[in-house]
Amino acid sequence: MNKLLAQTRVEVTLTARRGESLLLTLGIPVLLLVFFSLVDVLPTGTAKGIDFLAPGILALAVMSTAMVGLGIATGFERSYGVLKRLGATPLGRPRLVAAKVASVLAIELGQFAVLIPVAFALGWHAGSGWPASLGAVLLGTAAFAGVGLLMAGRLRGEVNLAAANGLYLVLLLVGGMVIPLTKLPSGLRSVARALPSGALSDALHGALTKGLSVPARAWVVLVVWAVIAPAAAAATFRWE
């Protein structure tokens, strides 16, 4: 327990210390949330932009932390030999993975503690599906962490950095987070719904929009990614 706690504390401290990770996990989501709810340019369809934006930005926050933040940090730890060095200590791989999971969840908690009040301050009328949201966030976290680690475990530090950022931008655009999936061309829309980004934002929109519920398809997609991506990462991960 001591070891897990010490490792988790270091993971959280180092993430919070990196300026670029703060920008990614808090800066960009807050900026997008505030900007697009004040400037009505997005084709959000519904009467109020914030009611669409808030769940989408929560999905973005999960993707930022679990896929990009975790993936980039782990990729660099791998190329700096940190994972190799920790492998020679009694920490052990299960505890290292547990510490990373715990730190991702702690950071997400911090993101929600900022983003949700900001969204309410911007006039968000949230639905009541908080338990379903929690489930979707946990599944989404597992799925995105799997994707991030899949890249981090194979690509060189800088290549991984570029790949994670590139994927982030693509999924931001086609993930239904700021632009509704219904506005995408139908072929692209089907692909987007099969991705963890589309499924998570569908699920959060369903749970947190009044009068809607989570589509079954979103649950299925999330569960599949939450199982397959971490398994693939575990199977292919290179520790040095």
Partner: protein
């Protein structure tokens, strides 16, 4: 029982043989140094002991454990210093020490660890703000966090300045005195000579000599006198005077094949004085480890000539 026992270890990467039937032992309370030129297989050997690599052939035991099968049990009793890196670039010195100490049940205090390597006043610096030498010292300190029974240090003095080297020597000696089996690698002869109780000289993945530094240096000692003088002196006359052959090994570097007795040294210097020749350098009796090393490894010879690879 030796702390480390390696028998007929072979490590192969594809077609490249990094370690070739190497056997070695290291005992508790001793500093055992694996000395060899770059590419001799030192890191491959030590990483096999640490459990990072699977032996292609042969057997490896560390504290009686298999480094891979019993890895977790071994980690609690093993200290490791990698050749480079291994630490979060953004972590502060104090945080790194506290983290590593927390990972061991039987552990040193973080403050003591930093004190030991002279980094107490750098506790608030991050790893990337440290100089190369300070990074090496922190990396060494972290290897000691768990009061290890066996410590593997890969090139602990590489890139260190004089004071850094002294810190490493002192820490390594203290560690061995506590009863830890210290195994380190180096390609620097001086360091091997100063740090080690026992030295294993490896080349091309094979063990070419082993023993205490005294034993290695005594090998073949006393049978020649080496000296420096102007090039082209009359070696025939000098040889007749000394009663043994004198050869000019390279321009201005001579080897006289006579016992390194005070009489012979006196005869040599007297002859030089008579002929008004300056004496640039004189070495008689004990050799330095460097001489042994150069004789046994390919370094300093034309490795393109296979026949001259191992001069004996």
């Amino acid at each position: 029982m030796p702390a480390v026992e390696v028998e007929q270890l072979v490590v192969r990467y594809g077609d490249v043989v990094a370690v070739d039937e190497l056997s070695l032992t290291a005992r508790a309370g001793e500093v055992t140094t694996i000395l060899g030129p770059n590419g001799a297989g030192k890191t491959s050997t030590i990483e096999t002991l640490e459990g990072y690599r699977r032996p292609t052939q042969g057997s490896v035991r560390v504290l009686g454990l298999d480094p891979i099968a019993d890895h977790h049990a071994l980690t609690a009793r093993m200290g490791v210093m990698l050749q480079r890196g291994g630490i979060y670039p953004g972590i502060r010195v104090g945080e790194a020490a506290r983290l590593f100490c927390a990972l061991y049940d039987h552990r040193r205090a973080a403050d003591e660890l930093l004190e030991l390597v002279g980094l107490s006043d750098k506790s608030g610096r991050t790893w990337k703000q440290l100089s190369g030498g300070e990074q090496q010292r922190l990396s060494l300190a972290l290897a000691l966090a768990g009061c290890p029974d066996v410590a593997f240090l890969d090139e602990p003095t590489a890139g260190l300045d004089v004071s850094g080297r002294q810190v490493v020597r002192r820490v390594v000696r203290a560690l061995a005195d506590e009863g830890t089996a210290v195994v380190l690698t180096t390609h620097e002869l001086d360091e091997a000579e100063r740090l080690s109780d026992r030295v294993l000289i490896v080349d091309h993945g094979r063990l070419v000599a082993e023993g205490t530094t005294a034993e290695l240096m005594a090998k073949g000692a006393g049978h020649e006198i080496r000296f420096g003088a102007p090039a082209g002196i009359d070696i025939t006359t000098l040889g007749a005077r000394l009663g043994g052959a004198v050869v000019e090994a390279s321009a201005g570097e001579y080897v006289a094949a006579v016992a390194a007795t005070p009489e012979n040294v006196a005869a040599l210097t007297a002859w030089l004085a008579e002929n008004q020749l300056p004496l640039a350098d004189l070495r008689a009796g004990r050799q330095r480890l460097e001489d042994v090393f150069l004789r046994l490894t390919t370094e300093g010879t034309e490795s393109s000539l296979p026949t001259s690879r191992r001069r004996r």
